[in-house]
Symmetry: C2
Subunit: 367 residues, 2 copies
């Protein structure tokens, strides 16, 4: 019997967003089916999503939301240990349209239901309409039985923020200050909003992400917290790599920062793919009014950073690239106590994101 | 992470169906929207369903499954303490298409997923197709996180059985032996199936129900267990009442029976409406191929027996009939420790059932 909380904030109520590396209860996903975004009727994407779900389910429970149309098919493809529930959406990026969960120290978990506008609304959003996506956070909270905070009008996607669970937010100016998000708010007002809802006191603003066109530069392709006082950041030594400048700028920025508790950040380098991943087979993606046309040869946002931390593990994108094994080794070094599992998710990158974008963790209750 | 159990039965695994008067965890419902069954775009029915849900939620949690189309509307109409989840169906009779839950004495609850064929399949079913209804039991078990027994091919609706939780099943020949259910099975084979899945040893077969046309005479309009060794049965002294013969036959039959433990049944009389309830406003029900045409003046199956027992209460249909108050008094006498709450559900009767038909209890884990 979850209720909507409209007159308070997580900070006021003693809740905070835990870091992804804290204990989790369950991972939520959505099922891809949109033929104007995914190649070949979304069938290869469905296989990749199922592979990701299966990999996660070795560590903790997974629930996949799927439309009525695709329910039987998803139930058939996904193994029985994965829970499948009906949930319609406009695409399958639960990181961005799903709830951001917060916890207190009394064993309570709640959701934050940000406004969602398909990464830019009528300004530069990726599709129209997005009403079913916008309802996903609430639907997940209903099924999870968690109360949720309404944030009327404040647009935010989960992929645009990372936290250390100890007062620090990591984000990008490119996304949060984009005119498609909250154009009537100043940077300071946005910062106050983040601190109020995530219960933080310091926001680290990296300037640019690596995909200006789709997510307006989500942080979850660029950097994340790996432990208190530690972050990972994308890195390449190849000046011809399309993400060379952004990776160096982000790395240099992070090396100069302290977190909310005053610790200088330890910054781990995480490689990029040796070769950029270029879209192929765009002719099998349906044309549609109001969505970006997809063309063979466009650079896909293929970042190893888009991994998901789970209980005892890390689920890491693999692209069939020369650096796949290096990425696994580097992430293993960042997380010495976790098992790193690579999943081939080139197909998810073709659709515009990766493992972190298609998952949302529900933290464990604590205290 | 519920799983499907295909190679065992509840009896083999030590599970039994508890009586409705045993402790419950939650009530499941579905949301009506089918314009070829409900009057005026299902709007009055939606109000009645919401009234029922609200009445139940005073006693225990309620979850309502609703299609993506109607989600926002249902969420708006239903009060916040009621959980709303997406769940498509072909109509809204969760008693019949939902799972029958069974429990063991070790704290475990499981579902039985009977085959559902819209009350008679291609023989005399009420609509086509019924595939979304048939998936409801599984979807509920997924959300509830309960393993479920598959009963491949065996057709049964929850409204066609009642149990005392102590080895006795109550049902009707009219329904279970109908050619639209399991025509290739003998009465003895069907009995064995019921005993195996409900974990019972005795089946009491009342011959006829009161609605041959729609449910083929479901027991839940005629009689039910009110306590171990006690049943309620419909009754009228008016020989002109359309259900006079069936009520007397059922009453006389029950008075002669003993239950699985050898107790002679105590039979409580429950009145029928003073006047039959006749359908009005059939012209606001959409015409549709493959469904029974609805006509003003047809007798609605308005039975006070179609109540729902909940924790500490009974939710009882009211029809605006002279006998409404008498029905409440009689049910209060049957259940001296429960609060009896009447809900005006004439509109639900117009659609073909009542409170028991539109609800399904998930029993509490015990032991």
């Amino acid at each position: 019997m979850p209720t909507r909380i409209e007159n308070s904030t997580p900070k006021q109520d003693g809740f905070r967003m835990p870091a992804e590396f804290e204990a989790q209860e369950r991972i939520w996903m959505l099922w891809p089916e949109r033929c104007d975004n995914w190649r070949m009727g979304a069938k290869p994407a469905q296989k990749a999503f199922a592979d990701v779900a299966r990999a996660i389910s070795e560590f903790e429970p997974v629930t996949v939301g799927v439309s009525a149309r695709q329910y039987a098919n998803a139930r058939r493809i996904l193994p029985p240990e994965i829970t499948v529930v009906e949930m319609s959406s406009d695409d399958a990026w639960v990181r961005d349209c799903g709830p951001t969960f917060v916890v207190n120290d009394k064993g309570c978990v709640r959701g934050i239901d940000w406004a969602f506008n398909a990464w830019g609304g009528l300004y530069d959003g990726l599709y129209f309409p997005w009403n079913m996506d916008d309802a996903v956070a609430r639907k997940i909270c209903e099924i999870a039985g968690k109360d949720s905070y309404a944030t009327p009008g404040f647009v935010l996607e989960g992929g645009s923020i990372h936290v250390d669970g100890q007062g620090t937010v990591l984000t990008t100016e490119m996304c949060l200050l984009s005119p498609g998000r909250n154009p009537d708010m100043t940077k300071e007002q946005i910062e106050r909003m983040l601190c109020e809802y995530l219960n933080c006191s310091k926001v680290l603003w990296i300037r640019d992400g690596i995909d200006p066109d789709e997510t307006n530069g989500h942080i979850d392709d660029v950097a994340c917290f790996t432990a208190p006082g530690e972050v990972a950041c994308i890195w390449t030594d190849d000046p011809d790599h399309p993400f060379y400048t952004q990776s160096h700028d982000a790395y240099d920025f992070l090396c100069r920062q302290t977190d909310a508790r005053g610790r200088a950040l330890k910054v781990h380098k995480l490689c990029l793919t040796k070769k950029p991943v270029y879209l192929e087979g765009a002719d099998t993606i349906d044309a549609a009014d109001g969505t970006l046309p997809r063309r063979d040869g466009e650079v896909s946002i293929a970042s190893y950073m888009n991994f998901l931390i789970v209980n005892g593990g890390v689920i890491l994108p693999q692209y069939g690239d020369e650096n796949d094994a290096l990425a696994i080794r580097q992430v293993e070094e960042m997380f010495p106590d976790r098992r790193v599992v690579g999943v081939m998710t080139r197909e998810v990158a073709f659709g515009g994101g990766n493992i972190h974008c298609i998952t949302q963790q529900q933290p464990a209750a604590r205290g």
